[in-house]
Symmetry: C2
Subunit: 246 residues, 2 copies
Amino acid sequence: MARYQVVLAYDGTQFSGFQRQAEARTVQGVFEDALRRIGWAGRAILAAGRTDAGVHAAGQVAAFDLEWAHTPAALAAALNANLPPDVAVRQARPAAPDFHPRYDALGRVYRYRVFCDALRDPLRERYAWRVWPALELELLQQAAAHLPGAHDFAAFGAPPRPGGATIREVLEAGWRLAGDELVFEISANAFLYHMVRRLVSFQISIGQGEVRPEALPGCLDREAPEPVRGLAPPQGLSLVRVLYPA
Amino acid sequence: MARYQVVLAYDGTQFSGFQRQAEARTVQGVFEDALRRIGWAGRAILAAGRTDAGVHAAGQVAAFDLEWAHTPAALAAALNANLPPDVAVRQARPAAPDFHPRYDALGRVYRYRVFCDALRDPLRERYAWRVWPALELELLQQAAAHLPGAHDFAAFGAPPRPGGATIREVLEAGWRLAGDELVFEISANAFLYHMVRRLVSFQISIGQGEVRPEALPGCLDREAPEPVRGLAPPQGLSLVRVLYPA
């Protein structure tokens, strides 16, 4: 029996989120089913984070203990053969016996993709949020520049446990143009519930000129803030990477 | 009553191709349903080309006669409100009364997306073909350089009617690197059935070093050729644009 860690990618469209639920199709559920088919008898896998329903991942990290006589590459192949098309193991390797993908993580990187178009576009809306009127990149960049550092993000989301801390440290945050998409990327030690999607929604109203960029720092570090209202839809969001000590 | 032409985009995954069928979900079927809901009483729309099951389109062109008192932009919006999420009108405009999207077309542009990876990737396989071992771009480019011009493509597909002509004129064809994807783009006056997907499959075996680039011209302009065997899967292919006189 040894501990393994895997990097998982999934298209979140057809999942009720990552975390196992009795009656719903979840990433954890189908992954544990695949593990059982190759001999796993554990109770639950460990994972770096819980993504919401509809949110994608290119770099979710999970860990589990398994009796496995072959190579890690063969483990990845065996799991992929037992997983549905919308989830795959992208990497598998041995881990320290006490490795915990959540507690050992130094941070997470999320990406949110937006495109500006007056008309629906079926080839793009599975992985990006369509926004109209168009956005000004410079306004978005001005807004995002306020995010790095340790801040109280209470206005932008709830902590995992009621009454828990709402201070998070943003390592980097910024918008860039990628083709004709606007891409927001943010890394932080951890995130509040819905935090990235609320930050995106708020910045979209800034990018459309409805709200000034300075309104963003005005919502940070407040003791008992009024929560911001909008929530960007899940399909634009993906968990890109989980950061660990080198 | 006036003739309108529309540019349609669709995600082909959930469609049994473009052309209407009694028992299957098709793009033509759902589009005609949407048209009927805004007052259309025609028998069938006209379209530039029939895409296969699973093939996408960013620039399919269709035409129909309709009594419509509002602007073309309002027509696009009304149709989009009545279409499912995987089809949309990207443009609508008045057309000449005798405009025919197929007969008036000078050519079609198709794109095929490929990526090289040993492991499945759920976030990419909806719109691209995963290929392994990796491909050499230069070999692909050497192969594609043989395509432009008028050639007998009988080895690469069947004509619309049995016994019909198999000569097609390729305007441009080539491979390029786009991020970490290899993209094949080809324009021709018209295409044989399955022609692009057979050309891609054949070139992949060239890019993997199994077949030499010179084998491609060896399959062209043959009177009674042995048909090439492979067929690239539909999800990598999309109809990008239909070309009309300026």
